[in-house]
Structure formats: structure tokens, C-alpha cells
């Protein structure tokens, strides 16, 4: 991340017309090509500003702008607008201090710049930027179904902190180790988490669990096993380029017989549609079962999109077999994506049966990688990335230490 600005400078000279581009990039240094559209060092009054929404208590204190918290919706904005969408801008804001000291040893600072602010009570009335040391996000001012103004999250395609989320089009892969109990969950080839099933080695098939309308579209399922010598045995490959589901899949209701069942598994334009009507717990499992031990067993598929208004990530089950009330056991649930906890034991879902190996626990290895520049990095627990961070301050310098302290804000 740190180097892209510097790379961009040199990259500019490689493009057609790059020499001119390079000169333009140097233009701030040369003093031409850019101009200051607004500037305030708060040495005077607040005539360059105005308030939108509720009145607040803005004032200049010791040559700095002081905004009191607690008047939302209160937007303190420039009196002049800027032509976002027509011109490029750089907005610089210096946060000098403050925030809410919620406890003796920590405070909360919400610096929330506004861009394109026009009216707190209008749709697309502004974009708000929110920061934290782990991420940034943008929200748009919009109106809900009742006409009330709300902040709505903006979907971003480029945001390094969101690189590990499931999204339509993601390729999801679940890999069970040859011991039949440990495994890994990948999204688009990136390891998301490691897990351990606390029961006997898994045996059976894979499938999709559907309940309370967690409906999805999936495609290109592949189930295979890899032996220790690298040889691959394909159990099932399905691109759904047909009209009937056929005999490779079994649609089951998990609470006794129901005909017709709550799950509709259908094929449309070469894509598998999985729709649960909300009246019962179901899965669509592979008809074929395998023994997991001795092989790396892999189940992967493409998550095409959500289906319906209730948005859950695909829920996969491993170790599936014909459902028998009160008996079926040893089926691991990957809930709403890489959610580990439940497994089916004795015909019911039981919590505490699957452990996340990236959780905080004794014996845990850790790794902190600080990118060159000292401004950003990532952390790993047991080899699994758990967080990305930025400093939102000066670049990190010097040293590292092991703190021992109460959780900030905790005083018990």
C-alpha cells in the first residue's frame, strides 16, 4: 500500500504522454496546475462555514475550531460547495485533539469528514467517511422507507480492509486435512480460518444447509480428494448445465418427513438456485459419501449471488449422510460463511463442537507484519490473518513491547 504513490509517479512516465503526466505530478512542487479552493486556519471568524441540521456550538478556541459533540444531526460544513464529479480534489483536515474520554485510560474519537454535503434530510445529501485503526468505510445519507434520513453503507470495490469478505462471485473452498478433523476455509484462494472438529473423523458428503430463507445461487461445485502422493480423485464435478438436478444430489428436510419439503433446489440458466420457504431446516447434500481420513478432502464452489432479501453467506455442511431424526451425527456446519461452532450430533445442531484455530488460546503462535513505512500492517494468530491495521498517526518508529493492562475502559 505504501509504495503505490511512489510507484505511481514512476509509472506515469511509462504511459503514452507520460512525460507530460510526470510534469503534472510535479506541478505541486513547481507551483502550478493546482489551486487552493478553500483554506481556513481559524485565525479569524467562522464566516467561511455554516451549519446544517441541528444547531451545535461551534467556536474558535486558541486558534482552533472546537465542535461540541451531542447535537446530531449537526453538520458543520464549508459555506461554499465543491464540484465533486467534475473536478478532482484533495481535502486536508488536521485533527488536533479532543474526543470523548469514556474512562480514565481510553477515549473515543470519531472523526467523520463529510463530502458533498447538501442537506441532512435528503437522499444522497452527503457521503460520510469513518475511520478506525482497522478499517475505513463510507456511508451515504439517504432516506429509509418512511422517508427518515439514515446513513447507508456504501459498497466499495477497492478497500484493502475488505479483501477477505465473501461477495458475489467468490470461489469458496473447504479443505479437510487427512486426519478428518482439522481443516481450512478459503475465499478466492485466501486462507480465512483454520478449524477443528471436536468429534471423530468426518465421513460422508458435503452440501448446502438452508434455513429461514438464507437463499443463494451457486455454480461449479467440485468435490475431490488428494492423496499424499498428490494424485487427485474427483468425486463430483457439477456445472449445472442442464435442467434437472438428477441423482447426484439429495434434498432433505432435517426434522422428519415433509412433502413437499421447505427447500426448492432448481437449475436456471446453468446455475443452482437454493430457496428455503422458511418452514423448516434443510440441506441439499451430495449423494456420494467418502471416508475423509487418509486424504485431503476438498469441496469448492462459486457463490454466484444472494437470492431474496435476507442476506446470509452460503452455509455449507461437511460429513453429510442420510438424515435420521435423533441419530445423524458428525456433520460440521460452516454457518454464514466461515462460522465455526455447530455440528449435528444425535440429529440436532449442537454448539461448541467446532473450534476456530485462529481464536485466542494458550499455545497460540502470533505474527505481526508491519509494512515498510511503518504506517500499516497485519496480524496473524496460528498462521491465520485476523486483522489489518493502520496507525492514523505518525509512522511507527522504534520498538515493540508486550503490554499488560486492563482492557481500555475496563475498570473492574
Amino acid at each position: 500500500m505504501m509504495s503505490s504513490t511512489r510507484l505511481g509517479f514512476f509509472r506515469a512516465f511509462r504511459y503514452p504522454g507520460g512525460f507530460l503526466a510526470g510534469l503534472l505530478m510535479l506541478s505541486p512542487l513547481l507551483g502550478w496546475g493546482q489551486n487552493v479552493a478553500f483554506y481556513d486556519d481559524f485565525s479569524g471568524d467562522l464566516s467561511k462555514w455554516k451549519e446544517l441540521g441541528n444547531p451545535g456550538a461551534p467556536q474558535i478556541v486558541n486558534g482552533q475550531l472546537q465542535l461540541e459533540w451531542g447535537h446530531a444531526p449537526n453538520w458543520f460544513v464549508t459555506a461554499i460547495p465543491f464540484s465533486f464529479g467534475s473536478e478532482a480534489y484533495r481535502v486536508d483536515m488536521n485533527f488536533m485533539g479532543g474526543g470523548w474520554q469514556a474512562s480514565a485510560n481510553y477515549k473515543e474519537v470519531y472523526m467523520e469528514p463529510l463530502l458533498g454535503a447538501t442537506d441532512p434530510n435528503a437522499a444522497n445529501g452527503a457521503v460520510r467517511v469513518t475511520f478506525s485503526y482497522r478499517s475505513f468505510a463510507m456511508q451515504r445519507r439517504t432516506l429509509d422507507a418512511n422517508g427518515n434520513p439514515v446513513w447507508q453503507n456504501i459498497v466499495m470495490t477497492k478497500n484493502p480492509f475488505l479483501a477477505r469478505t465473501i461477495h458475489p462471485g467468490s470461489r469458496i473452498k473447504i479443505e479437510i486435512d487427512p486426519d478428518g478433523v482439522n481443516g481450512s476455509y478459503y475465499i478466492d484462494g485466501e486462507l480465512i480460518n483454520r478449524f477443528k472438529y471436536l468429534g471423530d473423523p468426518l465421513q460422508g458428503g458435503f452440501g448446502f444447509r438452508l434455513v429461514v430463507q438464507r437463499n443463494v445461487k451457486v455454480d461449479d461445485v467440485r468435490l475431490y480428494q488428494v492423496a499424499s502422493n498428490g494424485s487427485v480423485t474427483v468425486i463430483l464435478e457439477d456445472d449445472f448445465n442442464r435442467t434437472d438436478l438428477g441423482t447426484n444430489w439429495v434434498n432433505e428436510t432435517l426434522a422428519g418427513d415433509t412433502t413437499p419439503g421447505p427447500l426448492q433446489a432448481t437449475i436456471h440458466d446453468g446455475i443452482l438456485f437454493l430457496e428455503n420457504d422458511g418452514s423448516g431446516d434443510t440441506w441439499l447434500r451430495t449423494a456420494q459419501e467418502v471416508t475423509f481420513t487418509g486424504y485431503t478432502t476438498v469441496f469448492e464452489f462459486t457463490f454466484v449471488d444472494y437470492l431474496g432479501t435476507v442476506v446470509y453467506n452460503p452455509t455449507v455442511v461437511a460429513g453429510t449422510k442420510p438424515y435420521t431424526p435423533g441419530q445423524t451425527s458428525g456433520v460440521v456446519l460452516f454457518d454464514n460463511g466461515p462460522g465455526f461452532n455447530y455440528a449435528m450430533e444425535g440429529g440436532s445442531w449442537a454448539g461448541g463442537r467446532v473450534q476456530s484455530l485462529s481464536g485466542v488460546q494458550s499455545g497460540m503462535t502470533f505474527q505481526v507484519v508491519v509494512d515498510q513505512g511503518g504506517q500499516a500492517g497485519r496480524t496473524y494468530r496460528n498462521g491465520v490473518e485476523v486483522a489489518r491495521f493502520v496507525t492514523l498517526g505518525p509512522p511507527l518508529t522504534r520498538r515493540f513491547c508486550l503490554p499488560q493492562h486492563l482492557q481500555p475502559g475496563r475498570r473492574d
Binding site: 441541528n54 482552533q64 451531542g70 464529479g85 478532482a88 474519537v109 472523526m111 475511520f131 498517526g393 493492562h405
Partner: protein
């Protein structure tokens, strides 16, 4: 590299209190074979007073010059304790130190700004930080910088509307006043200085900005 296979902590590490008026003794540091595996471990035991302490590595790390990797093993974690590290630590001086980053459980991040007490900052930024937002001419992409250093690029999803024309400014986060915990310190406020909007022009394509 430190495997702690010795009996004395040595000169590379130092225990500090990072609480005004706090005690170094609040953190007990020892080296012994806690897990009986034949070699020693670093043992950190905090007395659970209302203090923060840290065990600081005195060696400088080249954070600004190279990618730095720090790794280790938490052999044993007591119930409700946290596996935490601090990056950019320096000798703690009351009312002066700012900039270190705390990673609680290697996951929850806090900045440190002790100017005004022993304070970890949540969400951020810490005081004295210049935050810059670059908005490209399409109003759909740009970058974030802190203290003139690029931290991330951003781009709106294809179904999102661009940022509309309009003013820039600050959003008030709370609907009711927030009173600071320190007696007499009053209502929470935010302090800003030097706001600048620079027009980068219309003909500058994205690849010329980055």
C-alpha cells in the same frame, strides 16, 4: 531472536508503568519453565491494579525502512487475559508520548496519545494527525492519507452513486452530549485546525494522481 532460555531478563527488555503515578512493580516479569517442556518461557503477571504496564524491547526496529515481522508463541493465557502487543513503543513519559499502536488480542487496535493522561484512543485518529482524502474527478475513487502518507486507495462499487457536489465538513457523531469521565473536564469536543481543499483540476486522469 529471544527464546528466554536464561534466568535473568537481561538488558534488552525494560518494564515500565504507563499510568501517571503508576508502579513498575505492578507487572511481575520472570523467566522459568512454566509448561515443563525443558526450556524457559517469559512469564508476565500483572497484579490487576488500575494501571497499565508494558515490557518494552529496547532495541530499535527498522519500521520505516523495511517490512518488519514479529512472531512468538503465547504458551499460556490465563482466563480473561489478552494476547496483546504494542508497536512503536518508546520510553513512556507522562503527557508526552503519542503514536504507539496497541493490538489487543492482535485484533482490536488502539492508538496512544498520552498528552492529557494515560490514554488509548479508539477509532481515531490521535491528536495532531493530518487526515487527507483524495477524490478523483469521477467522484468514485480516490485515496486516504494520514500525515501525507498514503494508507489506502478506495473505489465505490459499480452500483453506487458518485459523491454528490456539495460542501465538505464534519459530522457530529452523537445525538446527546457526552460528558468526559475526568471531573470538571466537561462535554466532549473535537478540535480542528487548518482545513484546506485543493482543486486538482478536471483533466487529470486517475493514473496521473497515483
Amino acid at each position: 531472536m529471544d527464546n528466554f532460555n536464561r534466568n535473568e531478563l537481561g538488558e534488552d527488555w525494560v518494564v515500565e508503568s504507563i499510568t501517571p503515578g503508576g508502579l513498575v512493580e505492578a507487572l511481575v516479569v520472570d523467566l522459568f519453565d512454566e509448561d515443563n517442556d525443558g526450556d524457559n518461557e517469559l512469564y508476565l503477571d500483572h497484579d490487576e491494579t488500575l494501571e497499565d504496564n508494558w515490557l518494552r524491547l529496547k532495541k530499535d526496529l527498522p519500521f520505516t525502512d523495511a517490512t518488519v515481522v514479529i512472531e512468538g508463541t503465547y504458551t499460556y493465557l490465563a482466563p480473561n487475559s489478552m494476547a496483546s502487543v504494542v508497536l512503536g513503543a518508546q520510553q513512556w513519559t507522562e503527557n508526552q508520548l503519542w503514536g504507539p499502536l496497541l493490538l489487543d488480542n492482535l485484533e482490536t487496535a488502539w492508538g496512544m496519545d498520552t498528552r492529557g493522561g494515560n490514554v488509548w484512543v479508539r477509532y481515531g485518529p490521535i491528536g495532531g494527525t493530518k487526515v487527507s482524502i483524495l477524490v478523483n474527478a469521477d467522484a468514485r475513487s480516490g485515496a486516504f492519507l494520514t500525515n501525507d502518507i498514503l494508507i489506502a486507495e478506495w473505489e465505490l462499487g459499480p452500483d453506487e452513486l458518485p459523491i454528490p457536489p456539495g460542501a465538505i465538513g464534519f459530522n457530529d457523531h452523537y445525538t446527546s452530549p457526552q460528558t468526559n469521565v475526568a471531573p470538571g473536564s466537561g462535554t466532549a469536543v473535537m478540535l480542528y485546525d487548518e482545513v484546506r481543499v485543493t482543486r486538482l483540476g478536471t483533466a487529470v486522469p486517475n493514473w496521473m494522481i497515483f
